[in-house]
Amino acid sequence: MKPPKFLNDQNLNIALKSLGVVIMATILLFIITLFDGFWQAIGRAAQTVIVPFALAWLISLIVFPIVRHLERRGVRPRALTVTVVYLLMGLFVAGLAINIVPLFTSQLRQFFAVDYPTIVRYFENDFRNEFVLGPQIYDFFANAIASSNVINNAIENFFDSLTRIIPSTFYGIVMVIAILPILLLFYLLDYEKVNKALASLVPERYKGSGSELASHLNVTVGAYIRGQFFLMLAIGTVATIVYRLIGLEYYFIFGVLVGLANIIPYFGALIAMIPVVAYAFITQDTTTTPLLIVAINIVLQFIEGSIFQPVIMGKQLALHPLIIILSILLFGSLFGVLGIIFASPIAATLRVLYTFYQTKKREQAEAISMIEPQENTS
């Protein structure tokens, strides 16, 4: 009997090769899991190194265009330009510290002195009486939880992990705060030299494509980061003004929250709406109803998604909402909060890589199709 057509030598060869790769990858993964502690240590060390460098690179994407702009205007040499930029950043930080930090802390203090007890009281009394399934069901659940050790165990585990995490996290934050300005300073001073050194690591035959990809990444991801930063600032300020105008007590805290949540494009304002609505609902603020806050945040989201995003970002930089959700879920589960924050820049980077690969593939195919007819004619 003749074997089916798809079982030819070429297909079998590919199947065997693929099987070999899968088996090898599985064995490699198995070996990696055997040395779990070792890889965790390596991962932690890599994270300690990568986070400040990645942050310095991201900030340089925002700051370096200013350096270049100043240089074009005749502010030279580079050391002077970088000094001017650092002075401007220092003024910005000082402005924040003088005007914004006291406002933020005073609102935070007021919240914990006045409204926090109200919220606690609400959960202790009113929440039981207004429970959707009735107070009896609430009591049943409360008793069941109290009689089991779920809460106690959870609290113990939480504090255990907190005592382990806080020193390392604190150390990491202090390290980043201390190192970041120095890293950024040297990177800005020797921007071209560093990039050239990195480019020299690429093998000779990929050098052309490598430098093309690097410059493309720098331009596109830089524009994306700058656009997103700008959007966060704009939407955060608009939210703060509107919240204050409608008489929301902690307008500044909630406005900052909207701005920060906007790091997640398309959904930021909607996510930031949850604590504001909860606050308005629980404290029953007479001037601001939860419904009004929902309406305002939906309008803010509309402004961000339909007006600011397309105009500021443009078609080349806009990511589809589905891609955003997918990347948040994926990178969030892989890297936690940092993954959620960096999900959209990573997705933007991956899109640039994919587009670049597609373009190169198309160019290659076009080159081959141009050569083939010439060979046929000769």
């Binding site: 005007n99 914004i100 406002l103 300020t237 608009v238 105008l245 409608i246 339909s306 500021i312």
Partner: protein, 142 residues
């Protein structure tokens, strides 16, 4: 469609900016509770000063760059439009801030917010389509 030169577009941007600069100043200082009492100045006086300074700087730039920008033409003025969008957005919020600051009844803030948002949105959309060749809503807005 008539195509405007960069100088004309930037002149329009300057005009709109000057129209909104006082409300914009009110919006920013009100939000971050910035006061000038320490210098013996009121918010209104400082805002007029800012308006004059911005008018002078813009006029100077437009005057100096006239020969270059008058000959330059772009298919669309997206960057300028982004700037206009931002200024008009904060400016319209500033108008409501001024309403509150000058003793307007706070219960009308929401009505004003909705009304002025619609007016401002139409204003910016028309300006964008007619002068900047950028549409806010539609398939070709990107």
């Amino acid at each position: 469609m008539k195509v405007y030169s960069t100088w004309q577009i930037r002149f329009i941007v300057m005009a709109v900016s000057l129209l909104y600069i006082v409300p914009l100043f009110y919006a920013i200082t009100y939000t971050y509770s910035i006061r000038f009492d320490g210098f013996g100045l009121s918010r209104g006086t400082v805002s007029i000063g800012v308006l004059l300074a911005v008018a002078m700087i813009f006029s100077l730039i437009l005057w100096r760059k006239f020969s270059v920008w008058h000959r330059a033409i772009k298919i669309e003025y997206r960057k300028e439009f982004s700037y206009l969008l931002l200024v008009s957005g904060f400016g319209f919020l500033g108008l409501i801030v001024m309403f509150v600051e000058f003793g307007g009844d706070a219960q009308y803030v929401i009505h004003l917010l909705i009304g002025l948002f619609i007016v401002n949105y139409i204003f910016v959309t028309v300006l964008g389509r007619k002068l900047f060749n950028v549409t806010l809503i539609g398939k070709d807005n990107q």
